[in-house]
């Protein structure tokens, strides 16, 4: 057994209002510099929709993640030898048009325009070439809230898989938000795709980072990541990615996206896992077994044996204590209401999602007359097709989604019964049994999902620095200096004077 600690995140999709505050604060923190304008470490997608970059889930095109051949894990895009043979041209890499060509507006014109009959306008101007874009055709969240409708939605690879027709009429269609960051996988395919060995998983907290000095810009990580969350900075010619705001988490603070989340949908905590079992869990034959296999690598932080082994592995008391109080452990491993995104990629992702419930209940017309048992079939007949959620979160296994949704529905029914009456009926109904839960568990869930305060949602131990030499000297120093150019020293290539 090789115990490692991992910081992980849960996003409760029921509470996501699609406001993009996470994306904007993340961008202002990390990617507002030349070369990175098209990059969103955190983005919120409207689903169904093609996502960012377009059709990132199309593994036939980008060939991200792992695939199983004769029981062995292989990179879908090809192993090291095939990568070296393709090093002069990466056939599977996305181009800027798959993301979007970033632009600003010619605001200067508003100041300088002479007096005319018509008001001056600020024309969109490309931040790649500096030229005017007269007709932008795609941009970040171009398809927000199902904009583009029946023209755009069929680009979603999950929709293409669905058997039934998706209604696009306003009153019949469905919609949900999917906020995405780097998954900080236990079996990251970006790390395995890097010829230079520049990508690595931090031993202490499992955060996946790019060594900017070692990166040579070979770009296999870009499409090697099936979530398309490693980006190419065209200015520095190196890969950059979500770093789980490690300067913040090391200080015990949540990531910027979590801190600023308006709906408070995000939870951060530590989980303990057995690194020796990762490969085995990622190599199970049937993709539908991957979810259970992934759950099997995590260790119970309250088990005395695990605690002892964790201490031996150098994990200190504050990390063990955090793991015991981890909201992630409760939601993903104990209650099993949070699911990994696309487990079929075999990367064992560590950002977990509680599937959304709200639109289902709207489907029930006469809720006041509904018996508690009536919620059981209602879950099967919901507005977001269960197959769609299963395609995102459980490798097409609808029984997993059904169980989670039943549990979430049971939680609502129980909490309502507690307030407005009906506990006797709740006790008599088959809902608890069908959802495989107890009233105590439902109340714990309701507490964490609905009420939990800052320090319950974010249980983050600080990074260990007590053995650093010269801590006094380092006080106030920034661990990421040198990564980003100092402010005010950057010129866009198209603004350079040596170009005609």
């Amino acid at each position: 057994m090789r115990i490692k600690a991992q910081v992980a995140m849960v996003m409760h999709l029921d509470k996501c209002i699609g406001c993009h505050t996470c994306s904007v604060t993340c961008k202002n923190t990390w990617t507002n510099r030349p070369g990175m304008e098209y990059v969103w470490y955190n983005n919120v997608e409207t689903r169904p929709g093609p996502g960012y970059p377009k059709e990132w889930e199309n593994t036939d095109r980008y060939k991200g993640g792992w695939t199983l051949r004769n029981g062995q894990l292989h990179l879908r895009a090809g192993g090291p030898v095939s990568k070296l043979a393709n090093i002069f041209y990466n056939p599977n890499m996305a181009t800027i048009d798959d993301f979007y060509e970033p632009w600003t507006y010619d605001f200067e014109h508003l100041h300088k325009a002479p007096k005319k009959e018509n008001l001056p306008v600020a024309r969109p101007k490309s931040m790649i070439t500096g030229k005017y874009i007269d007709k932008p055709e795609w941009g970040s969240n171009w398809d927000d809230d199902l904009a583009g409708g029946s023209e755009i939605v069929p680009m979603d690879p999950n929709v293409q898989k669905l058997q039934e027709h998706i209604a696009m009429e306003y009153e019949k269609t469905f919609m949900m938000y999917l906020p995405r960051i780097c998954e900080h996988c236990l079996n990251p395919s970006c790390v395995a795709s890097c010829p230079s060995g520049a990508l690595y998983k931090r031993d202490e907290d499992g955060i996946v980072l790019v060594d900017q000095d070692a990166c040579r810009g070979w770009r296999f990580c870009m499409n090697g990541c099936p979530y398309h969350k490693v980006y190419y900075n065209w200015n520095t010619h190196k890969a950059e990615k979500c770093n789980f705001c490690y300067p913040r988490t090391e200080a015990g603070l949540p990531t910027v996206c979590s801190e600023t989340c308006v709906g408070r949908i995000r939870y951060i905590g530590v989980v303990l896992y057995d690194a020796d079992r990762v490969k085995e869990a990622a190599s199970v034959e049937d993709p539908k077994d991957l979810y259970e296999a992934q759950l099997s690598v995590f260790l119970d932080p309250n088990d005395p044996d695990v605690i002892e082994k964790a201490r031996e592995a150098g994990i200190n008391e504050s990390w063990i204590k955090s793991a015991q109080e981890s909201p992630i452990y409760k939601m993903a491993m104990k209650w099993k209401i949070a699911l990994p995104l696309h487990p079929e990629y075999r990367t064992l992702p560590m950002v977990w999602y509680v599937p959304p419930l709200s639109p289902i209940m709207n489907h029930i017309t006469n809720e006041q007359d509904l018996s508690m048992d009536g919620y059981i079939p209602a879950v099967d007949d919901m507005r977001i097709p269960m197959e769609y959620l299963a395609s995102l979160l459980s490798a097409d296994d609808t029984s997993v989604i059904r169980r989670v949704l039943l549990k979430m529905a049971a939680m609502r029914v129980h909490m309502r019964a507690k307030t407005v009456g009906g506990m006797d009926e709740m006790k008599a109904s088959k809902l608890l049994q069908e959802a495989g839960t107890t009233m105590e568990e439902l109340e714990d869930m309701a507490r964490l999902l609905g009420v939990a305060k800052y320090n319950e949602r974010f249980v983050i131990p600080t990074g260990r620095r007590e053995m650093d030499d010269n801590l006094h000297y380092r006080q106030g120093a920034c661990s990421i200096e040198g990564l980003a150019p100092a402010e005010g020293m950057v010129t866009y290539p198209y603004e350079r004077s040596d170009l005609g």
Partner: protein, 230 residues
């Protein structure tokens, strides 16, 4: 003059190459990369880059065979001069044409695609144009001079001279009688070598040959924390 160009100049180039490369690696580490523009354009890059890179790998092997391996080796294994030159002209010609055609495609792409153009620096243009000069001269020598004038036996002049550079006893007099075309090819390529540390050419030293041998997953710990007890 012969002594300067064939006895001193190569060492100036070698010194620039080594010192500047080490300096860049140590003090300008973040600028050490293969500055790809594939994210902006990949259709023409596919043709140009593949032709150029595979062509130059072939050409490199050809130069090892022609310049580094002594003529005595070919004689000892029974390769006649005629057979050698036939192979050199055919193989070298194909490689040279691949390189030149690939470079011309890349150059046209560089100034005709607005996204690529805006990110091309002087060093990028210099690299491509100078490579065309070097490779063009080489291809012309191989395909035209060697077939129309004489199949020049560089294995007894340029080859021994180049090898003598490494023993620090440059036999510069070997180079004085070499045809001008060949002299120009050698000198222009030495200028290119001197430019390596200052251009994107530096990425050739980073070929990740160790990749197939390493573990797929990489873990890194902050020094000193790895196995420390609380």
């Amino acid at each position: 003059m012969g002594f300067f160009w064939w006895g001193i100049f190569p060492y100036i180039v070698g010194t620039i190459l080594v010192v500047a490369s080490v300096y860049r690696f140590v003090f300008r580490g973040t600028s050490w990369h293969a500055p790809s523009t594939e994210i902006f354009e990949k259709k023409w890059l596919r043709i140009g880059s593949l032709l150029f890179h595979w062509g130059i790998l072939l050409a490199f092997i050809g130069h090892v065979m022609g310049v580094l391996i002594p003529i005595e080796f070919y004689e000892s294994i029974g390769v006649t001069d005629h057979l050698y030159h036939f192979g050199a002209i055919a193989g070298g010609g194909i490689a040279g044409l691949m390189v030149v055609i690939g470079l011309i495609i890349l150059l046209i792409r560089k100034f005709s695609n607005p996204r690529v153009k805006v990110h091309a620096s002087f060093a990028d243009y210099f690299t491509v144009i100078w490579l065309i000069v070097v490779a063009g001269l080489g291809t012309y020598m191989t395909l035209v001079y060697n077939t129309t004038v004489v199949a020049y036996e560089y294995r007894v002049t340029i080859g021994p001279w180049f090898r003598s550079l490494f023993t620090l006893q440059p036999e510069y007099e070997l180079m004085t009688g070499v045809p001008l075309l060949f002299q120009l090819h050698v000198l222009s390529s030495f200028i290119l070598f001197a430019a390596i540390p200052f251009t994107q050419l530096i990425h050739m030293f980073s070929f990740p040959g160790r990749y197939p041998a390493r573990a797929p997953q990489q873990y890194r710990a902050r020094d000193g924390y790895k196995n420390s007890r609380p």
